[in-house]
Amino acid sequence: MGTVVTLGVADAGGTGTDSSVEFDALVQAYRPRVFRFLLASLRDRESAENLTQDCFLRAYRARDQFRGASSQGTWLMQIAINLVRKHESSSRLKFWRRALHPGVHPEDLGDWISDRQVTPEAAIVAKEQVRAIWSVVAQLSERQRTVFLLRFVEEMDLLEIAGATGMKEGTVKTHLFRALQSVRAKLEVTK
């Protein structure tokens, strides 16, 4: 971390990261969350790693502009959401992604369930449930998927999600409701 140059003193709010040590702590604290969100959104390890780095690089460059209006986690997640949107709107990438991964999920999330299931039957059921949710999440719109992941994976509350996505709280709720309906419908089928 010795190569990091301090770009300036943070604003009077005092919440800005005005030293590389503070930023280091921020990265340590939030990197897993940001990476997990990006991985779940993009389903591609390489892209998720690239965008995670992009996210923190942007945060580092813009840390002087962080006014402390929201928590650091929300702020970072806001950057990550914007990166995902930008990534997905790139039609060139979209074409190649479709060409390389035509309709199959690159990762079977059912393989990553907890191995502390009571019986093999319970393990199979759990696996099916996780797979069902994972397949529904892939079909959700970008907004619905984002709010769903933020709420049920990152466990952010509605206000934080609204802050991170730039949507109103009611809109977030509507998107969450629709996403949850899709998940429920799919889970009913697998029941």
């Binding site: 390489e46 780095q53 999330l109 369930i113 907890s114 949710i133 994976v153």
Partner: protein, 332 residues
């Protein structure tokens, strides 16, 4: 308590808590509680699986954040890469071939790469059909040769043809030395295809054969071929340069005049003429191969008719040679 929670209420429970009576119902109604627990369990398993996967693949050190965005690695399977590459190359190749079938492309290539088309004519062997020749014969009879078909063209000559065949124990079919595709006619008897006489006669010539010439061929020439001319082959034609025949060499030239109409219309271009340069070096049989119009064709023919050549030669002798002449008309 008779009605269960609606979808919206269940979702609200999961999303953000809900009204106190909904929560109370959820505690008391077994069905609704089971539904909520099922959904909650599923979501928490999903969260757990995602977390495990994420922490498993997240092996990167966070310090590299400060190195900026790294170059993208090439990912994907090698097999896919190979198949894609093969397909791309095949498509490219097919595109080149398909493009090559289009006429504009072909003409463009011909225009651009004229140096690829080498003129091989000077190196080719003598072409008998074009290099003249001829034959003649006769039996000193009173009448001219009668009309009939030519004998079979052969590369070697043994037996001169006769109109009235000679009875012999061992028949040797008569032949002439000529290319195999010499023009012929359908008839029962041998004769000169160019004759008009129907009465059988071997002609006024000498040396065997048919016609007014000599040396055992057919026709008025000297040789064992057919037609006018000498030596062998199918005569009566003119030579073309190449294959032992030298091209005529221009000695004297008259510049063509511009016609009045063409001058007014500012008409420019090239007239392509075909001439036969005879043994004396004079152009004969001037014909227009590619016309330009507006009186320029006639002007070109008038001018070229006055030109004088050193005649083309074959074996040291001047021979008539057909040549094409381009006459350019340019307004300065």
């Amino acid at each position: 308590m008779n009605t269960h929670l609606s979808a919206l209420q269940i979702s609200e429970c999961l999303i953000d808590g809900s009204e106190p009576f909904v929560e109370q119902h959820a505690r008391e109604c077994d069905d609704c509680r089971a539904e909520l627990e099922f959904l909650g369990d599923s979501l928490s398993r999903f969260r757990g699986a995602l977390g495990r996967w994420s922490s498993h693949v997240d092996g990167a050190e966070y310090q590299i954040v400060f190195r900026g965005t790294p170059a993208r690695h090439v990912h994907g399977s090698w097999r896919l890469a190979g198949v894609s590459s093969l397909a791309a190359h095949a498509m490219l190749l097919a595109a080149v071939f398909v493009l090559g079938t289009f006429h504009p492309v072909q003409s463009l290539v011909k225009q651009r790469f004229t140096e690829l088309i080498v003129d091989l004519r000077p190196y080719l062997a003598e072409n008998k059909r074009h290099s003249g020749g001829g034959g003649g014969g006769g039996a000193r009879q009173v009448l001219d040769a009668s009309k009939g078909k030519l004998p079979k063209p052969e590369p070697r000559h043994f037996n001169p043809p006769r109109v009235d065949p000679v009875e012999a124990k061992l028949q040797m079919p008569p032949s002439i030395i000529a290319p195999p595709d010499v023009p012929n006619l359908q008839a029962n008897n041998f004769g000169d295809p160019l004759s008009k006489l129907g009465i059988p006669s071997n002609g006024t010539g000498l040396g065997g054969g048919i016609g007014s010439g000599a040396e055992g061929g057919v026709g008025p020439g000297h040789g064992v071929g057919a037609g006018p001319g000498s030596d062998a082959g199918f005569g009566g034609g003119v030579y073309t340069a190449g294959g032992g025949v030298s091209a005529p060499h221009l000695l004297f030239k008259v510049e063509p005049e511009y016609s009045e109409e063409a001058r007014k219309a500012k008409w420019q271009g090239t007239v392509l003429l075909s001439v036969i340069v005879d043994e004396m070096g004079r152009p004969n049989h001037v014909k227009v191969l590619r016309s330009l119009g507006l009186g320029l064709d006639q002007k070109a023919m008038d001018a070229v008719s006055q030109w004088r050549f050193k005649p083309g030669q074959k074996d040291g002798k001047a021979v008539p040679v057909i040549a094409t002449i381009e006459v350019n008309f340019r307004l300065l």
